[in-house]
Subunit: 220 residues, 2 copies
């Protein structure tokens, strides 16, 4: 079984690598917005292409391991978790591209307002991605739980962003298209955080065997 353990390590290593790319794509997408920087936007597209490549490779590897070995209990749970985590990471890459597309259109316009909460949301989301993967590698339930808590903070910031932007739009109708773009960026960041939360939930299931999906009370 030595070989199988190596393969599982390799799978985990690839997930970490993919998560690194995702984190960096989120970062570049928000840098492209804050600094109005086209080079950062191109970085996102380039990283997403690599993320998509890894998505396919990881899926193939996990499926091959399922087929080749007949893993029991914990290893089986790890492999099905890996397939789900891979899917969540891939969607985050898509969302970073969504953000970048809106950032590209905002670059050509005057800024609605200095950005404060959106970069904060992005920082939190990046940390959530990193921590959820660290929690996976270390099988650390406490660290996974910090991700669930951070998600509440992201939701709070998203609500604050919405309220502020609604006021801008109502006060000055020319800001409407740009404010809508910013709202969707906040929405995409919140979804990225949701995907990190999914990963943390998978880790909790893996470590503790408890299913925290659909049970908000466990998250308190």
């Amino acid at each position: 079984m030595r070989h199988f353990r190596d393969e599982l390590d390799e799978l985990q290593r690839r997930l970490l690598e993919m998560a690194g790319l995702v984190e960096s794509a989120i970062h570049s997408s928000i840098m492209s917005l804050v600094d109005r920087d086209e080079e950062q936007a191109k970085e996102v597209l380039w990283k997403e292409a690599q993320i998509n490549q890894k998505d396919i490779e990881i899926d193939e590897l996990a499926t091959r391991l399922l087929a080749l070995y007949q893993p029991m209990a914990k290893d089986m749970r790890f492999l099905t978790a890996a397939i789900k985590i891979n899917g969540d990471l891939e969607r985050m890459g898509d969302l970073a591209v969504n953000i970048t597309e809106r950032s590209m259109s905002l670059m050509r316009e005057q800024q609605v307002k200095p950005l404060v909460d959106i970069p904060k949301m992005a920082d939190l989301a990046e940390t959530m991605v990193r921590n959820s993967l660290d929690a996976l590698v270390k099988r650390d339930a406490d660290l996974a739980r910090t991700v669930l808590l951070a998600d509440d903070e992201v939701d709070r910031l998203r609500d604050a962003v919405y309220q502020e932007l609604l006021q801008f739009m109502q006060a000055e109708s020319t800001t409407v298209p740009r404010a809508v773009d910013l709202m969707f960026i906040a929405h995409d960041l919140e979804r990225i955080a949701d995907h990190a939360t999914n990963i943390a939930e998978d880790v909790l299931f893996l470590v503790k065997g408890i299913d925290v999906r659909h049970h908000a009370e466990v998250r308190e």
Copy 2:
């Protein structure tokens, strides 16, 4: 292996049942919006609770089958596809609830405009869910491809809805909060259609062995 075949059929039956609930939740969410009907909104919440239950059951069943039998090639691909499809259906349930929450808040306000394109988007999305699951059951690649085409139409409608709502918001600032709610509803419908597209892509991979993810050109 007779028993294994029965179990696979059972898994497929449960996915179909779940998809039926999802379809009906989408329908109720838009009915609650169009008819301003609180009873339909409650239906969505009730259906989503059942969807969440099924999500957990299907995951457990698929993982158990992976562990218990040592399925080869095609059966293995079906089981990993089932886990992904289950995830996509579950997210659609969440999105139907998102729509319903915005519909609940819109019920208390005057209507911005008669709804035409949003109900059309919902119809398309429901058909996409049904067809993607039918394509799975029948292993029908052509039917799966119709889902990919319908997704382009949903995107087109979403763009039309956005443009129209932007105009309303700019012309009359009091419509802004309600128009934003409608924009997010269109966005959620588009995401539901994306999840149906994911399922159709999984079916194509299952039937044809070709991976159409991240290859837009195959969709032409």
